[in-house]
Symmetry: C2
Subunit: 239 residues, 2 copies
């Protein structure tokens, strides 16, 4: 079996999606936030591309339990219930709720992954748990870094490296080049992944907006056992 990592969602060949186990990463902050929300008892998460789509979806669902979450340029959208800070997604706020979340890069990556045999959402927080589930699938694994507007994202690549490292403890894999480099990059920073994330473009942006706590939160490894699975447009906790 093989592991490959793509650094953005562009131009991923279909052969790297079809029949593969896919892990989508948008660690700052979509996949961390979704993991936190599900761990806090949120029933399901519907990822959409735009705020308009989110509002339309809420009208269509006609369900009082629906919350809207998401960000534009890292900030909460006017009229939404929640931003994209994982720490807002507490049990008090999201337990028993359905969440519509709008995020550009993460949603695009999740939709690109839709042809995979299983589509999991990965973050630092649930990396070890996601690796266990992915390994149990006994298929080739494609890890998709969402990136930032078609650009390489350090933080997603670092998280991909954690996943490759964890997968290596679960089974025998051939590493394609992207997976090998990501793993080596993670090893370089394993003592302090948070410091590496703070150096990233997105990390520095969040710090400049007073959201450094979120970067710190999103860099912690193994704090969640939840594995979000995407299927038919909806993300739910596995099992």
């Amino acid at each position: 079996m093989e592991i490959e990592v793509f650094t953005t969602l562009n131009g991923i060949p279909d052969e790297a999606i079809n029949n593969k186990t896919i892990i989508v990463i948008d660690v700052l902050r979509a996949t961390t936030t979704i993991t936190t929300a599900l761990a806090a008892g949120c029933l399901e998460v519907i990822p959409v591309l735009t705020p308009e789509e989110a509002i339309e979806m809420r009208q269509r669902l006609e369900d009082e339990r629906v919350l809207l979450g998401g960000e534009r340029n890292a900030l909460k959208i006017p009229g939404f219930d929640l931003g994209n800070s994982p720490q807002e997604y507490t049990p008090q706020v999201v337990a028993g709720k359905r969440l519509i979340i709008t995020t550009t890069n993460g949603t695009r990556a999740i939709r690109r992954a839709a042809g995979g045999r299983q589509v999991l959402l990965g973050a630092m927080s649930n990396g070890p748990a996601v690796a266990r589930v992915a390994a149990a699938g006994a298929a080739d694994i494609t890890i998709i870094c969402s990136g930032t507007r078609d650009h390489f994202s350090l933080e997603d690549f670092l998280t991909a490296g954690l996943l490759v490292e964890e997968l290596g403890t679960q089974g025998e894999y051939t590493l394609r080049d992207g997976a090998r480099v990501a793993r080596d990059y993670f090893r370089l920073h394993r003592q302090n992944p948070g410091a590496a994330m703070m150096e990233s473009y997105h990390g520095r942006l969040l710090v400049s907006l007073g959201l450094g706590d979120d970067v710190d939160y999103c860099s912690r490894v193994g704090t969640a056992a939840v594995v979000p699975v995407y299927n038919g447009g909806i993300i739910k906790q596995l099992g």
Copy 2:
């Protein structure tokens, strides 16, 4: 000024090409071979996508000085004068000649770069020289790794890291995430880039074909002062 690295040629946004200095890397072996050929006195190199296109181009040029070079699946193409081993491109063979070279990944990447203000070809061999020329251009720099059939190539990313490192000695640059990670990856392997390249997918393929010498050759840093420039479909030595 800014440096960004793209790990494949897919989905690079136009804003990362237009008005930028572009450095295209296909270190195993196209950009190394082209650099070696120009250093050996080859007049110009015309990159094309397919062997058929190469043969047509030779007929159209009606010039006895034309040689055909290139590979398919790492091996020389029947009827061609040369393969893609840089060590074939000696002064005895290529001095005073025009070379049509067919290479899939490298040619696609060079053509994608065509909108840049200056398009340079980089390799380990000419990395320091290319960095000096690129820095003198005083523009943002986009480094394009050709990759292997839409996949991440370790060897191109490692070479991108060398270029970022060398550029850092030439001026003040803001590093986008791809550039930062590539530089850190190069630093991890700077004592022995050849060993890292041997671990790559393409490196192992070449070794398995008895072409390990080429990998070693292509991993040597700073052995050439030639800077190939692409303009209007033709690659020539700068100046």
